[in-house]
Amino acid sequence: MSGVISGTRIERHKDSTATVGFQVFTGTTIQMDLQEVIDRLVVARLDDVYRRIEQFDQRLTNIENEFEELKMMIEAGGMKLSEERKLKVQKDICKRLSDLLTKNFMNKYVAITYDGQIVASAETDIELLKKLREITYPSDQIFLHKVGSTAVAGWL
């Protein structure tokens, strides 16, 4: 049996199955117990594997940290953007429907879908929310509006 490991030629000694001879570059042959060789090789290989795992683990941790930071940045910016966008879309829809709303729903609270349909109306926001419980339309596709006012509630 013979083979090359890291530039060192390993040969099994022909008189013994338990020892091997190392013919290193200098030409010197070192007799070693086979088990010892295996142990040394395994330990060397395992150390190498552990070192590589540690390096990989560190790199993964760094990537995870960078990913979390990026995610937080996107979420913070995204939330602000989506809220601003929603308000803009709501205003655009109300502007488009302004004639109809002022004519039929002045000072009332209305629920409007983001594609411009009026799905419910009421005298108060509480009544409107109560009515909406009967309507099977995705809630994230509906916004509330008080006709003749910029906001439904708040520090007015």
């Binding site: 929603k86 308000l87 709501q90 109560k130 419980r133 916004f143 509630a153």
Partner: protein, 139 residues
């Protein structure tokens, strides 16, 4: 005022402990929030809560709707609103199902707020020197 208040609350002032209940109509499942709400007479609505409460409400399956709201600094925001009830203020429990309210969630205020519209259901006395907030039933 000679009448007896149904709620009389000392420090922290002006806060009231409010039991707010959101109920899913089809299943009857409820989410109960017992919160120390700061009385804010500038807020013209019922109850205002931080936006993280939305998660529990959504998980319950109760719909939340986008609602334009004006904050104290005049900024216009898109908050979330849902139908809810106030069952109890401090030790006073209201007859079932409680008081109908619109519950608004947005941002991250330090405390949930109890607004003027809800407070206007009663006669409120803010005794500043004694730091006592009392609620009386209207005559």
């Amino acid at each position: 005022m000679s009448r007896i208040p149904f709620v009389q609350r000392g420090g922290p002032y002006p806060f009231l402990e409010v039991r707010i209940v959101v109920t899913r109509q089809d299943t009857g499942r409820r989410e109960v929030f017992t919160e120390n709400c700061k009385v804010d007479t500038g807020f013209y609505a019922d109850i205002f809560m931080p936006s993280h409460y939305q998660l529990a409400i959504s998980q319950l399956g109760v719909p939340l709707y986008d609602t334009p709201l004006i904050l104290a600094d005049g900024k216009e925001v898109s908050a979330k609103a849902c139908y809810a009830h106030v069952e109890k203020i401090d030790d006073h429990e209201f007859p079932a199902p409680g008081i109908d309210i619109a519950l608004f969630c947005h941002g991250n205020p330090k405390n949930p707020l109890l607004g003027l519209r809800l407070l206007n259901k009663w006669i409120a006395e803010l005794d500043g020197p004694r730091q006592i907030l009392s609620l009386f039933s209207p005559a």
